[in-house]
Symmetry: C2
DNA sequence: AGCAATGTAAGATGAGGATCGAACATTCAG
DNA sequence: CTGAATGTTCGATCCTCATCTTACATTGCT
């Protein structure tokens, strides 16, 4: 059977939403969850691109964790990059802060 | 039949939670709703104690509106006072801002 | 007293979302 | 090539919550 032309074998890169395109309610809803807040706090304590998804210690299974990262991407809070079998993460501090000044700092401080 | 001693005939005063006692997630969840955000925005545009619940123009029935005000009280965002058959409202700007500095201003600006 | 207005309480309903288990794809190591 | 590790996707389940309808309480007006 013919193979697809241009098939690279790469898995699809994660879909991101820029903070500038995120509605306020979407950002608030993303932050209003204990698991996601824990992910963000952990992410804030480590350098960019040093944590893969499996490194986060939360009390939910892989599927739920994957779901939460998807929500965080859609809210413009997290950026992801594939490296090997792992998916590395980065908190979009500056970009998100430009869209919602002070919100992320407030959440990290009050959490 | 004996009447209750001390019965004043007043209806129970609304129960409030001070912003200092409000968890971050509670505040964020309260703000992450379009109806409640609309209530807060409307409240922010009028002087304190000038709007009764029925003055807010939202697309839900009385019962749902009452529920939303209850959520806002629990989140330390709104204070209420009874006057006649009406229940007057006030946005707890300063108190809430002391607990979550900048959050309310951000929400009002971005909404 | 009778009535309209305002708001709350209780029960039912429906939608959204958080979770899990299982199956699958991709990548790397051996 | 085989296997292990990492994430995603799908279907099912469960629970929370927003909403409505109805009933009720309080207040003020006539």
């Amino acid at each position: 059977m013919p193979e697809q032309a241009g098939a690279t074998g790469h898995r699809p890169a994660p879909v991101h939403t820029h903070p500038d395109d995120v509605p306020l309610l979407t950002a608030l809803a993303a932050l209003a969850d204990p698991v996601r807040m824990h992910l963000i706090c952990t992410l804030a304590k480590h350098p960019d691109w040093t944590l893969s998804c499996s490194n986060f210690d939360v009390s939910v299974g892989r599927a739920a964790k994957s779901h939460h990262f998807s929500v965080l991407r859609d809210a413009g809070l997290v950026e992801q990059r594939d490296q090997g079998t792992k998916r590395l993460n980065r908190l979009r501090r500056e970009e998100f802060d430009a869209r919602f000044p002070g919100l992320l700092a407030l959440a990290l401080r009050a959490a």
